[in-house]
Amino acid sequence: MSEHNEQEEEKNKKPKIYNFLRVLFHPHDFLGILSEDRYKSLKIRIVLIEAMLSLLPLFIVVTISYFWFQQILKDDFKNQLKWELENTKQSIEFFLEERVSILRFITSSYTHEQLSDQRTLSDIFTKFKREFPGLVDIGVIDADGIQRTYSGPYRLAGADYSDQTWFNEIVIRSSNLSDVFMGFRKIPHFAIAVKREVPDKGTFWILRATIDMKTLQKYASAINIRENDDVFIINREGVLQTPSRFHGNVLEQYKEIFSFPEDNLSIKEAGQSEGTCDICGYAPIKNTPWILVAVIRSSPYAKIPNIFRNELFFITIISVFFSIAVTIALVQTVVNRIKKADQAREAAIAETEHAGKMASIGRLAAGVAHEINNPLAIINEKAGLMKDILEGSRDMQQNREKFLSLISGIFDSINRCRTVTHRLLGFSRRMDISHDTIDINDALKEVIEFLEKEIIYRNIRLDLDLKKDLPRVVTDKGQLQQVFLNIINNAIDAVEEGGLIQISSYSKDEHFVRVSIKDNGRGIPRDKLKHIFEPFYTTKEKGKGTGLGLSISYGIVQRLGGSIHVESEVNKGTTFFVDIPILSETV
């Protein structure tokens, strides 16, 4: 009973594990095929979970390292950009400072009067232009904003600058750098103006040189840029000071929205989705209204070197393959072990169940036999008395014969009952086992001789395959022969006329000799097969078999320390295997 409970408990446990696994992992549910063989599905589930547990971190690490590496490249690139911008910015600053210094030098070397002389100015202009290309023209402007003298390709002498912003500014400051503008000349340029105070007269004059925007552009384009990148200069209002590739021409408004950096060079990053650049560098140029802008769109840093990517890919694939292979191998071993253990346990349970059943049936049989024997004895004696009386009396002559035959009928029945009860008792009996050293083949042959008549009569072919030199066994010959007799008898009953019975003997291993008795009869259906060793179970027609032969055989073989089992296929035949220990141990 306790076994039954244990089984039920197990049944209750299993769904819990199943549910747990189901919660943990779903494919089991929607892949119906997995549930067909529970060991197979267990294998698949463990492999999937294991793979997930081992591959997930791997993928995470690989992904992180990939992006991390990309980030390093990006930072590296930013630093490089910063450095280039810094360099260019300094070059431009130096260039402008140089121009301002030269103009200062001229204003302090010459007086207003000297420079008002057209020839002197033209001379300076020519020399100046020779040393510093990019100079467009040069002019002297008085305190009223009127250009008094001018040297250059245009006719700008007498031009009035008094209402222009740069003029108003320079009144306060000593020098001024203008934005790029078209001005009267209709070419983009910028102007550098230097004020010279005349302290004794309380007035001032201005020397103003305009420089072609292209000079500035040259510096900007010195930065090493790629196809989609752009470098240009804007002023604080966002007006382009040099032409750009993608952001409009000179004096157009720079459309990107950005906050102007204060003083320091800054590198900013914007998302692609905002329609702006990936990386923008802003470098305000000191003492000027200008900002050097680099817009990098080509994202060269995104191109991780192939070697690194290939290596990463290769390592990942190998790891995946390796971990899955190892997992499968492990799972295969473990699950197969579990399966074997389960099977062994199931077999053991079945065996103990069977043994227990046989034992209890044996006890029951003994009890029943004893209880039946006593009333049977009474019936026997009463019938005997009736017979005695009838035999002794000379009266009722007519009914005498009839009575006697009836009584003999009763005796027949009693005899039949007696054989049944005696066999039943034999079933439960613990007999003493004799120990004979015998040759199994001889024992078999004796049994076959005993049955030979029946075999010949029914035209059954008998195929003997008895191995010579079988080890002699120590066992109870008489009982063993009874077993063979029972089984061969059954085989004879099972085959049709002209059927085949094959009897073979061979060494099963070093401890057992095996005798197999195979017939090509009608076979035993699976559901009946498990009952055939139970007492009173018979498939023979009524009155022909007691249903005790095989159960007694089973008991005998068990007692002799051997085992008996059967394989059968319907319409193909049945094979009985009897394993006899070479050295019998009395159980």
Binding site: A366, A369, H370, E371, N373, N374, L376, A377, I378, I379, N380, E381, K382, G384, L385, D388, I389, E391, G392, I414, R418, T421, H422, L425, G426, R429, R430, M431, D432
Partner: protein
């Protein structure tokens, strides 16, 4: 029917019906039959009378067959006791023979067999008695040497 045997037989069994019928049949065959339904009763009967054979059931409530057998044998070692049992077990049979029973029969037993065993028992008993008498005669002859 076998030849008639003249013998005094005691039947011991707890089943009264069985006793009644069996004794009738035995009487029909010329035996003198006495019955008792328990071991205790049988012991009493043995004290008062000399039986040629005792047929004793092995399984009885109260004093068991084996117990009864041992007690009778201890008091009257030359009594011939045939065991009868519903338990057809060799083990019990061997135990009974060891305890001194002359034979062992399984229930339901054939009448002829019972008769055979009884006659055999009687022969043995006669032999024993004769031997005893012989011995007594010898003793007398030796002791009274006249």
């Amino acid at each position: 029917m076998t030849e008639e045997i003249k013998a005094d037989v005691l039947l011991v069994d707890d089943e009264e019906q069985f006793l009644k019928v069996l004794s009738q049949r035995m009487e029909g065959r010329g035996l003198k039959v006495d019955t008792s339904t328990s071991g205790e009763e049988a012991l009493e009967k043995v004290k008062g009378k000399d039986f040629d054979a005792i047929v004793l059931d092995l399984a009885m409530p109260g004093m068991s067959g084996i117990e009864t057998l041992k007690r009778i044998r201890s008091e009257h070692p030359d009594l011939q006791i045939i065991m009868l049992t519903g338990h057809g077990s060799v083990e019990k049979g061997v135990e009974a023979i060891k305890a001194g029973a002359v034979d062992f029969l399984e229930k339901p037993a054939d009448m002829n067999k019972i008769m055979e065993k009884i006659s055999e028992a009687k022969r043995k008993r006669v032999l024993l008695v004769e031997k005893k008498k012989e011995a007594q005669v010898k003793e007398i002859l030796q002791s009274k040497g006249w």
